[in-house]
């Protein structure tokens, strides 16, 4: 491969031939899981309440802290699935 602006190199890379490394892709249906931890923490009516309390913390606080688990879960799955497909 000589350079990015050489048309020959570009064609070779995009057509999966000429011994170029197999074209990788980040596409996966599993990536849609990432939408869940983005949307849910923004829906204020879902958690904007005092009760039920957990160890004295209003729901507003403990539930939002608990949402961290959603984020970690979704990014971990997206990473693991992407790794396996390599």
């Amino acid at each position: 491969m000589t350079g990015p602006d050489s048309d020959g190199a570009r064609d070779a890379a995009e057509s999966d031939t000429d011994g170029e490394p197999r074209r990788r892709s980040d596409r996966s249906w599993w990536n849609w899981l990432l939408v869940i931890p983005i949307v849910i923490p923004l829906l204020t009516p879902l958690y904007n309440a005092d009760k039920p309390r957990f160890i004295g913390l209003p729901m507003f606080y403990w539930l939002q802290i608990a949402f961290i688990v959603l984020g970690v879960g979704a990014t971990t799955i997206a990473y693991q699935v992407g790794k396996r497909r390599r």
Partner: protein, 538 residues
């Protein structure tokens, strides 16, 4: 100065000096063949693994100022200040797929800054210059705010003059100059150990002393009810509450969303990401960094604890509320450790931010406009010098201007850095936009953002303008009490204008810039060949 303050100060100085020593030694850590190269000085050799990246980016994003300002906001406004938690939960899934593309294309082409990428992607030095200037302007007050964090601690220990701050900053400047990004990377380990230790103790000990979280929130609720009743009688808006009111829910959600969009547009965040050695390191960190969000959630609660403990800030400086709480609740030796954690916590992001701003200047102003044939050695020199200038500028900010001014500027910084979203973040996903349309969108978004901020008064400081980021939707002609995050509206304006102008320019067949990147560049990984050994801007 009381004897308690002397104990605090001694512990603070010992830890601070030890960490500064680490900063200087860092130049030899994972020793490079030649430090005089931006890849080495400015990106730590692009070689950091999962753990180092976690500490580095954690220290970079969750700054000392965050740890001081978020509880201060909770102390003043209650639930609204907790937006920092949803903000730092949603940010990682949001940027997951975008950052790995940024890492890959930068790895292939040797990009050091987000503006380098924009330059190559859209073939427009002008657009790259706008992105670079936006980045520098947004970062400067952020560095100044790290000093506000240190200053809050020094004030609590009875050091009101500027000299201790100046000394601390000279030390920081010296080791950043010498060791580059390796210094904050190594210091971040120590800083995090201290922070984690302090928070674990704090979150158990203080609620225990104050009678549990239930009691803390009951006291805080009564406190806000009283303030709100007084404000209502004086015809002022409510001060705050322990859960959101009807008028600020939209603001809460858009503030969290807008801040999340902005976070990885900041040049110092990009620096942290580009210093990692592979895509997988970036991905793993998207799952690991939320550990800091958990910490931040706990720290935010300190604001309520301060209310329940009857803590008062020094003067009207709410940023002193956390140091004051520690001073009040802990024996002096532990308060000293906690103060050191905050002070050292300020050094890590301040170093990375000054490096990032210096790299922007070097790559996108110096090399682009002043000296096109600069060698890597000259680039590294320029960055080292500029990093000193940037820090010195931040210091002058704090000494000669009211700290409130830095806080207002940082608020503006968040709104303006968002205006690079279409060029940088959307640019990583698509090449559809026209370069001139992106310039038009930037201008429109910037104008809209600054205008909105201008209309927002601060009732507490009696400033008529730039008093916050909660824009009253009623100013747009809607009959409502709702407020919305100004940055969110501004970036919407930006994107809409960029889309419309792209359609116009495409219809008019306006000449578009050449894209130097190719599709596979965006999925390249560690070990894949680089486009050239010496980074070129084409």
């Amino acid at each position: 100065m009381t004897s308690n303050q002397i104990v605090e100060l001694v512990i603070f100085i010992v830890l601070f000096v030890a960490v500064s020593g680490i900063g200087f030694v860092a130049a030899r850590w994972r020793r490079p063949a030649d430090m005089m190269h931006l890849d080495e000085w400015g990106l730590g050799g692009r070689s950091f693994g999962t753990w180092i990246t976690w500490f580095l980016v954690g220290g970079d994003l969750y700054t000392a100022y965050t740890f001081v300002a978020v509880p201060a906001l909770v102390f003043a406004s209650g639930a609204l200040g907790f937006y920092a938690v949803p903000y730092t939960v949603i940010v990682y899934p949001m940027v997951f797929l975008v950052l790995i593309r940024l890492w890959s294309v930068s790895h292939r082409h040797g990009f050091v800054t987000p503006a380098d990428f924009v330059r190559a992607r859209f073939g427009s030095p002008t657009l790259a210059l706008l992105v670079a200037i936006t980045g520098i302007v947004a970062t400067m007050p952020y560095i100044a705010l790290q000093l506000v964090g240190i200053q809050a601690v020094l004030k609590t220990m009875g050091l009101g003059s500027h000299w201790p701050l100046i000394i601390a900053f000279l030390i920081l400047a010296a080791y950043t100059y010498q060791s580059g990004l390796r210094a904050p990377a190594l210091i971040a380990f120590v800083k995090d150990l201290l922070i984690y230790a302090v928070i674990v103790v704090t979150i158990i000990y203080i609620p225990y002393k104050l009678g549990g979280f239930g009691h803390i929130f009951d006291v805080a609720g009564a406190h806000f009810d009283k303030l709100n009743a007084a404000n209502a009688a004086a015809g002022k808006p409510p001060a705050g509450s322990t859960i959101l009111g009807p008028a600020n829910q939209l603001n809460y959600a858009t503030l969290a969303f807008g801040s999340a969009l902005a976070l990885f547009l900041y040049p110092h965040s990009v620096t942290g990401v580009l210093a990692s050695k592979s895509r997988n390191v970036v991905k793993r960190n998207m799952s690991a960094l939320p550990a800091y969000s958990f910490l931040l959630g706990l720290i935010a609660l300190l604001g309520f604890m301060a209310i329940a403990a009857g803590t008062t800030p020094i003067g009207t400086d709410n940023n002193t509320i956390v140091p004051r709480l520690f001073d009040q609740m802990f024996p002096s030796w532990f308060a000293g450790i906690a103060f050191a954690a905050i002070g050292i916590g300020a050094l890590v992001p301040a170093a990375i931010m000054s490096i990032a701003a210096a790299n922007l200047f070097t790559r996108n102003i110096f090399k682009e406009y002043l000296k096109r044939d600069a060698t890597p050695r000259q680039e590294a020199w320029t960055s080292k010098i500029v990093s000193l200038v940037v820090k010195f500028g931040a210091l002058l900010f704090i000494i000669f201007l009211n700290p409130q001014f830095s806080i207002d500027l940082q608020l503006i910084g968040g709104v303006i850095i968002l205006q690079t979203l279409p060029s940088v973040a959307l640019g990583l996903l698509t090449r559809w936009f026209h370069r001139w349309a992106l310039v038009a969108g930037w201008v429109a978004g910037m104008a809209a953002g600054v205008w909105m901020l201008y209309t927002i008064p601060n009732p507490k400081t009696h400033h008529l303008h730039f008093g916050g980021s909660a824009f009253s939707v009623s100013k747009l002609g809607f009959d409502t009490q709702w407020t919305i995050y100004a940055g969110f509206v501004a970036v919407l304006v930006n994107v809409v204008v960029a889309v419309i102008f792209t359609l116009i320019f495409k219809a008019a067949k306006a000449p578009d810039g050449r894209d130097l990147t190719t599709k596979p560049d965006y999925t390249a990984d560690e070990g894949d060949p680089k486009v050239s050994e010496v980074p070129v801007l084409g």
